[in-house]
């Protein structure tokens, strides 16, 4: 018989092994799912995981989709480490796109070299402003940030929808809900010819290193980690909870806002009603599978990006709904949470009761 037993200390090995186990679990479930749908699992796997990466363009797409996932994932991971449950990165991304996109539209066709830096700055500030609302409400009014950040996602998306249907709609756009296309100076240059990947991925990777330094080498990062692991100890040490909440939400707002402007100034090239297929939500899984560690988040973002690409490829190649991406994402997080059990617990073999030699009980009358 097997029994769960708490480990004396959490296993650091399992911390690395469990994302691998989770990915395997997802693949096995995917295999069974394709079988059940009457599709050839091998062909489906090829379409899902190999074919998207078989061309330079495909590799470019991988990094292109990695950019927003990595940016949002980095910010979320820093927050989750401090027990700040910002799940509204999607809204902060949208506000970053609105703010940065607004600057781009203001510049119009101008080829000013100030355009791009100002757009990026506006994107970052837009995301931060949106994240400041839950930070203020949590620190001043004790309001749960989970629900507030999520509600703000819907509000941001409706605001974007209003802008592209109303004041910012392209007059020559045949009534499509979209803005004018951004000018050349307002569009991020492509990093590798023949792909769509932009400088955004370089910013994102650079920020991963910055986030690693922040979380591992600075006192502020240390304070946030203590607040997450042992809130009582953090309070006893006099670490301000409010400061941690503000730092966590501002950092995530900044990275998510940057992700938003990198999307609209990069592959999209204009503002439109739909700018993200749920990158901000998928980034929650990215942060988790990356063990809330900036370097791990890089790998998490690459994996999640592949799931997006695979979903598109399976949609085109086999007529599967692209929603299969969301299904795989959810499965991955489930398996990861289950596999994480073995970080703090282990399975122990317990001998069967009858196999233990027991002395015959003494003939004593038992009251119970």
């Amino acid at each position: 018989m097997l029994r769960l037993e708490r480990r004396a200390t959490p296993s650091s090995v399992m911390g690395f092994v469990s994302p691998v186990l989770a990915a395997l679990g997802m693949l096995i479930t995917g295999f069974l799912l394709f079988r059940a749908l009457g599709k050839d699992p091998v062909e489906a796997f090829y379409l899902f995981f190999i074919k998207p990466l078989s061309t330079t363009y495909g590799i470019g797409e991988l990094f292109l989709k990695t950019t927003p996932l990595l940016l949002c994932g980095l910010g979320l991971a820093l927050g989750f480490r401090a027990n700040v449950w910002n799940i509204g990165a999607e809204g902060q991304l949208t506000m970053g796109a609105i703010a940065g996109g607004g600057v781009a539209l203001w510049f119009g066709e101008s080829d000013s070299s100030f355009a791009m830096p100002l757009m990026l700055l506006a994107g970052v500030l837009g995301g931060m402003a949106w994240a400041a609302i839950p930070a203020f409400l949590r620190t001043r009014f004790n309001t749960n940030e989970i629900l507030v950040t999520l509600m703000l996602v819907y509000i941001a998306q409706l605001l974007l929808s209003w802008l592209v249907h109303g004041p910012w709609r392209d007059p020559q756009g045949q009534n499509y809900p979209q803005s004018q296309g951004f000018g050349d100076a307002e569009t991020m240059s492509v990093l590798i010819n023949g792909t769509r990947v932009t400088w955004g991925i370089i910013y994102a990777l650079g920020l991963a290193v910055v986030a690693w330094i922040f979380s591992q080498k600075t006192f502020a990062g240390f304070r946030m980690q203590v607040a997450g692991l042992a809130p009582a100890a953090a309070a006893y040490a006099g670490f301000s909870e409010k400061r941690n909440i503000w730092i966590a939400l501002m950092l995530c707002g900044a990275t998510a806002g940057l992700a938003g402007i990198c999307e609209v100034a990069g592959p999209i090239g204009r503002l439109q009603q739909q700018i993200s297929p749920g990158y901000g939500f998928a980034a929650i899984i990215v942060a988790w599978i990356g063990r809330l560690h900036p370097i791990g988040v890089v790998f998490g973002a690459l994996l999640m990006s592949l799931l997006y690409l695979g979903g598109e490829s399976a949609q085109m190649g086999m007529g599967l709904p692209s929603a299969i991406t969301g299904l795989f994402q959810g499965l991955l997080l489930f398996y990861l949470l289950a596999a994480d059990l073995f970080i703090t617990f282990r399975l122990k073999r317990v001998p069967r009761a009858e196999s233990i030699p027991v002395k015959p009980p003494a003939p004593v009358e038992s009251a119970a």
Partner: protein, 306 residues
């Protein structure tokens, strides 16, 4: 006809799914478990209810299938959080993300298909009364069942012995376990109940409110239900009042259009979400309100050493 009557009637219809989902979550949270997966369970309920009704033509089968699907999904949550002691916040989020993905995947072939809207029942004599008949006796059966559910939950939590046990477990599972109360079983049953009501709430969307399946059709209603539980300070009566207030807010859009207010629809659609934030701030502003009413063990795993 008085223009207020259809507005109140549409408010009731808008509030009904919130009542189901929020009452279920109230019971779950009173047992000390925080299930953030309502949105996912609602979507799964919506698509399964729709598929079952589309296949059989029976609304009853649809709602039962939705409840069963909600329970099935809640069991996954229960297994992870109660048996494997995973973080309840993260697992609930996973449940929502999974539910969004799975419902979109399953519902792919059902998008755009029609079903007949669950008809309103007419009570001979009563429905014919002017105004009052339209206001009180002209709804579908699920509206009346939601009232019955409210009375049942109220009785269960405040008057029944099992309800007392459930509340004790929510306050202090360690103590409840020590005096021999079944912590795990009770929490499992509560989580399953929450799954069933969330499933029904979802089916109400796809079979009554907009009788069709649309991907992601719950549009945050599961999260609003979670906010309603806080708004109602974990008390069924206040939760239901909150649900009707919110139903009213969502119908403000119709009101504004009816009176020709020059407000873009996007801003009107923001109202329920903005209102959720505002009421959360009002309720949470005083930390004592939360401390006095929130189940003490909410969100914490319980591992009995024995």
């Amino acid at each position: 006809m008085n223009p207020l009557v259809p507005m109140i009637a549409s408010t009731v219809v808008a509030a009904t799914p919130l009542i189901y989902a929020a009452l279920g979550e109230t019971v779950v949270e009173r047992s000390g478990v925080l299930n953030l997966g309502i949105e996912g369970m609602m979507l799964i309920g919506a698509v399964s209810g729709f598929a079952a009704t589309y296949a059989t033509g029976s609304d009853a089968v649809g709602f039962l299938a939705a409840a069963a699907a909600g329970v099935a999904l809640s069991l996954v949550f229960g297994f992870l959080t109660l048996n494997l002691q995973t973080n309840q916040v993260a697992t609930g989020l996973a449940l929502t993300l999974f539910g969004i993905g799975l419902s979109a995947f399953v519902g792919y072939n059902y998008a755009g298909l029609p079903v007949n809207r669950l008809p309103a029942i007419t009570i001979p004599g009563l429905t014919a009364i002017p105004v009052i008949g339209d206001l009180l006796f002209h709804y579908d059966i699920m509206v009346y069942l939601s009232i019955a559910l409210y009375l049942g939950v109220l009785w269960f939590l405040t008057k029944s012995r099992m309800g007392l046990t459930l509340r004790a477990i929510g306050e202090s599972p360690g103590v409840a376990h020590a005096i021999g109360k079944p912590v795990l079983t009770t929490r499992y049953l509560a989580v399953m109940f929450g799954g069933a009501t969330a499933g029904i709430a979802g089916a109400y969307l796809s079979l009554v409110q907009t009788p069709m399946w649309v991907e992601g059709m719950s549009a945050g209603k599961g999260w609003i239900a979670l906010a309603l539980v806080v708004f109602g300070t974990w008390k069924p009566t206040r939760v239901v009042i909150g649900a009707y207030l919110f139903g009213g807010v969502t119908q403000f859009q119709l009101f504004a259009q009816g009176f020709g207010l020059p407000i873009p629809t996007e801003f009107l659609s923001m109202l329920p979400y903005a209102a959720t934030v505002v009421v959360l701030v009002i309720i949470c502003r005083d930390p004592k309100t939360i401390l006095l009413n929130q189940p003490a063990s909410l969100g914490h795993s319980f591992h009995s050493a024995a």
